[in-house]
């Protein structure tokens, strides 16, 4: 059996970022409070992204008032597939993904069927603020469904894989691919059971993978070897992530990016309090990289491309991931 605990001394050696340290030293210091709504509200993020020409899934319409729900079937009539989201939802809560129709019914990504009244109830829950932080009233967003890239075929179960990149002061510092599993119910949230695959910052290939905080090698549902993963067009993805800093002005953010088969990388959402599990999937702590970026002073006026090139050089993985060789 593996150890049940790790000593704080080891954690410090690995440079692991703890939650208290993240909150005090990074979120509180680099994220201005007044900028939070830009990322806490997906609608605002989306509008901002459109303003800055950052690609993002197309917005179909927004439901703001309760009375709009009564005739929602008219709005939904022309839509074969869509994603329904609360604008202020967190942790993937309240997101409804409809992949197709079956007569009057809507087919969810999990295969479950939903009727129009089900959708209405879900919408009125969203408006009443059930999924928003603090229960404040909310709006529902209906947006285009991502046609996800074939390169992930066999890697994701019932859901859209997305790429989480931590961007610190405009520099991407760590990345992982999040794959939905049967256990995570199609959601890409690690604490719900999704698989996290650490990605090398220079090439976008797999470093390590973890589920429920434990290292794994194969996708639990499809059985495919996770170490074969290699994201193509990696630099463009990093560029997209780095742009989000220029867009929001937030110093420490998590960017969630999806790869669309036709439109390429799309910004799905931003997170001003990105989780810490990304460190486990990368097998390394965030702190050394964050401190390194903090120490940069002369590069402050770097453009987006320069910043991306800098981290691809600076944080390149020297040796190939030990996973395939060392384990088993």
């Amino acid at each position: 059996m593996s150890k049940a605990w790790v000593s704080p001394k080891h954690l410090r050696e690995y440079g692991m970022l703890g939650m208290n340290c993240r909150n005090v030293d990074f979120i509180n210091r680099y994220n201005e409070r007044k900028l939070f709504p830009l990322v806490d509200n997906k609608l605002k993020t989306k509008l901002l992204a459109q303003e800055y020409d950052v690609p993002t899934p197309g917005l179909k319409f927004v439901v703001r008032e309760q009375h709009e729900i009564s005739h929602i079937e008219r709005e939904l009539a022309g839509l074969e597939s869509f994603a329904l989201k609360p604008a202020k939802g967190s942790g993937g809560k309240g997101i409804l993904v409809v992949t197709g129709r079956q007569g009057e019914q809507f087919v969810r990504s999990s295969g479950a069927l939903m009727s129009i009244p089900d959708i209405r109830r879900h919408m009125s829950n969203i408006l009443a603020g059930l999924y928003s932080l603090g229960g404040s009233s909310d709006v529902a967003i209906i947006e285009d469904l991502i046609a996800f890239d074939d390169c992930f075929a066999g890697y994701s179960h019932e859901g859209v894989p997305d790429i989480r990149i931590i961007v610190f002061r405009g520099y991407p510092v760590m990345a992982m691919l999040r794959l939905a599993t049967h256990a995570s119910d199609g959601k890409a949230n690690l604490h719900q059971g999704a698989v996290g695959v650490g990605l090398a910052l220079d090439t976008g290939r797999c470093l390590k993978a973890a589920q429920y905080g434990r290292p794994i090698k194969l996708h639990p549902d499809t059985g495919r070897a996770l170490s074969d993963i290699q994201i193509s067009g990696w630099r463009d993805i990093l560029l997209l992530a780095a742009q989000c800093y220029d867009m929001t002005g937030l110093g420490y953010i998590g960017t969630d990016i999806v790869l669309d088969k036709f439109a390429g990388p799309q910004l799905l959402e931003l997170n001003a309090r990105p989780g810490l599990s990304i460190q486990i999937t990368n097998g390394r702590g965030l702190l050394p990289r964050l401190r390194h970026i903090e120490g940069l002073t002369r590069n402050r006026r770097f453009r987006t491309e320069q910043r991306v090139d800098y981290v691809m050089r600076q944080f390149a993985e020297d040796e190939p991931a030990p996973q395939s060789a060392a384990a088993e």
Binding site: V6, H10, Y14, M19, N20, G129, K208, L276, G285
Partner: protein, 504 residues
């Protein structure tokens, strides 16, 4: 960095000032740091009886000083129907004076005092040597006997103190002819001793003491003698020669003035009854210092009803600190940040086991009802409102059933914060639907655990006593909470969460 130092200075100053004020309050008012401390209080009642002759009456009784060796006067009162009463100070002696225009027949006047045992040693030692004179009118033979006794005592002694002791020894030896002769004219040994010491040029004065013994009635004052050693006054028991104030002796009266003066009455006498009581030291401190600055700024000045509310309010910082600790240092997940504190407050009213059982029952039944509500397709606000109504019904039902079954604890259920419970049920039910029952157990269990912990700490009588009687100690808590707010180290839970790091 500089900012950090300022912050730390502020923290230290907060904590220090809290402790400092508490210590000042402790020394100024005597409020004990530990609860349950009791002090013994002597309730002494002097009863003056006399036969009034029909004319104007005035009775004057000598009273003990406010500060006495070993005792402190803490309350006094007089009860005497129809009499005017005043406490006068005359030449440093306090006297109670009862007056009445006309009185006839048997009269009883009462004076009672509550005396607290104290460590103060404010004896008369620092006073001037001014003693009293005790002229003796002795016959020739007695003079001779006195001189002989004094000579023998002087031979065996070296100081005023030992002189007095030797004299008492001689007076107590029954076989001596001299002492028999001296006693013939004088039965009061204290008086005799003072007369003898006058001859030896040792200043003396008379003292009347009262031996305090629990539940005694009809006690009288015991004559004692104080002798001046050249530096200080020492109390000497003229019967035994014992030096010093015995711990149970109350010095009621000092000096040559009479203990009791009655004009307009005859057959006057005074006797004493006493009883020992124990009262909480906290209460004593409150009464004794009702005028001090600390008491004015204390919660105890408020009406009792508000006080009990403050008692709970002042406990809240403690609960809040527990929650901060559990979340920041340990890394517990709770549903709703401070919901556990409110639950813990409710536990304080219901007692732990009853509170836990009823809380779990209410939430469980609420969850079951909520699962039906989710099918009704209600708006969130009205769903929460429905839950609130249901929770209130549940709580009322519990109270009534509990009462009918004879458990009065059922009634205290009403202390649960109902709106919070309704929200808890709603959140848990959503959590159940989205993340499954295991997450509900995890967060619900975590909340309950934190609540129980907060409860255990808040009902700890020492802490309850400290927060209520020394509200300034909350500054220390505040400093602690602020310090935890700047803690950037790992949480205990992260040592487990990141355990995989050792394997890669």
């Amino acid at each position: 960095m500089n900012q950090k130092r300022t912050f730390h200075t502020i923290l230290v100053m907060l904590a220090m000032s809290g402790i400092l004020i508490a210590v000042l309050r402790h020394t100024a008012t005597g409020t004990p740091f530990l609860p349950g401390q009791e002090k013994s209080v002597w309730l002494v009642e002097a009863r003056v009886d006399f036969e009034a002759t029909g004319g104007p009456v005035s009775a004057s009784l000598s009273l003990p000083d406010v500060q006495l060796p070993g005792f402190e006067l803490f309350e006094e009162q007089a009860a005497s129907p129809g009499y005017g009463f005043a406490i006068l100070t005359d030449n440093g002696n306090r006297r109670a004076e009862w007056t009445k225009r006309e009185a006839q027949g048997e009269q009883s006047l009462y004076y009672s005092a509550q005396l607290v045992e104290s460590d103060s040693d404010s004896s008369s030692s620092a006073e001037q040597p001014g003693g009293e004179e005790h002229p003796a009118d002795w016959e020739e033979a007695q003079e001779l006997a006195a001189r002989e006794v004094l000579d023998r005592a002087r031979e065996k002694s070296s100081s005023a103190q030992s002189m007095a002791r030797e004299l008492i020894n001689l007076l107590n030896s029954p076989a001596s002819q001299n002492t028999a002769l001296l006693r013939a004219g004088n039965t009061d040994q204290a008086q005799l001793l003072m007369q003898l010491l006058d001859r030896a040029d040792i200043a003396t004065r008379s003292v009347m003491g009262l031996y305090l013994e629990d539940a005694r009635r009809r006690q009288t004052l015991t004559p004692m003698v104080e002798i001046y050693t050249g530096e200080e006054w020492l109390l000497v028991n003229p019967q035994t020669g014992e030096v010093g104030v015995p711990p149970n002796l109350l010095l009621w009266h000092r000096g040559g003035v009479s203990v009791l003066d009655v004009t307009g009455g005859a057959e006057s006498r005074v006797h004493f009854s006493m009883i020992r009581q124990t009262i909480p030291a906290t209460q004593l401190a409150q009464v004794k210092n009702s005028d001090s600055m600390f008491a004015r700024l204390g919660v105890q000045r408020l009406p009792i009803e508000e006080q009990s509310m403050f008692k709970l309010l002042l406990l809240l910082p403690l609960g809040a600190a527990v929650v901060v600790f559990m979340r920041v240092i340990i890394g517990f997940k709770t549903s709703g940040t401070f919901m556990p504190v409110l639950i813990a407050l409710a536990f304080l009213q219901t007692s732990l086991v009853a509170g836990l059982i009823s809380f779990v029952l209410i939430v469980a039944i609420g969850l079951a009802l909520r699962s039906y509500l989710s099918r009704l397709n209600l708006l969130l606000v009205s769903r929460i409102a429905t839950l609130i109504v249901m929770v209130i019904f549940l709580i009322s039902a519990f109270s009534i059933i509990g009462y009918q079954l004879g458990y009065s604890t059922g009634m205290t259920i009403t202390f649960f914060p109902m709106i919070i419970i309704a929200w808890t049920i709603e959140r848990m039910s959503i959590l159940w639907e989205e993340d499954g029952p295991s997450e509900v157990m995890k967060q619900g269990g975590g909340s309950l655990l934190v609540a129980v912990l907060a409860y255990l700490i808040m009902q700890w009588s020492i802490l309850e006593h400290l927060t209520f009687n020394f509200p300034e100690l909350n500054l220390v808590l505040l400093a602690l909470i602020l310090a935890m707010g700047q803690y950037t180290g790992y949480k205990l839970s992260e040592l487990r969460r990141f355990r995989a790091m050792d394997e890669v």
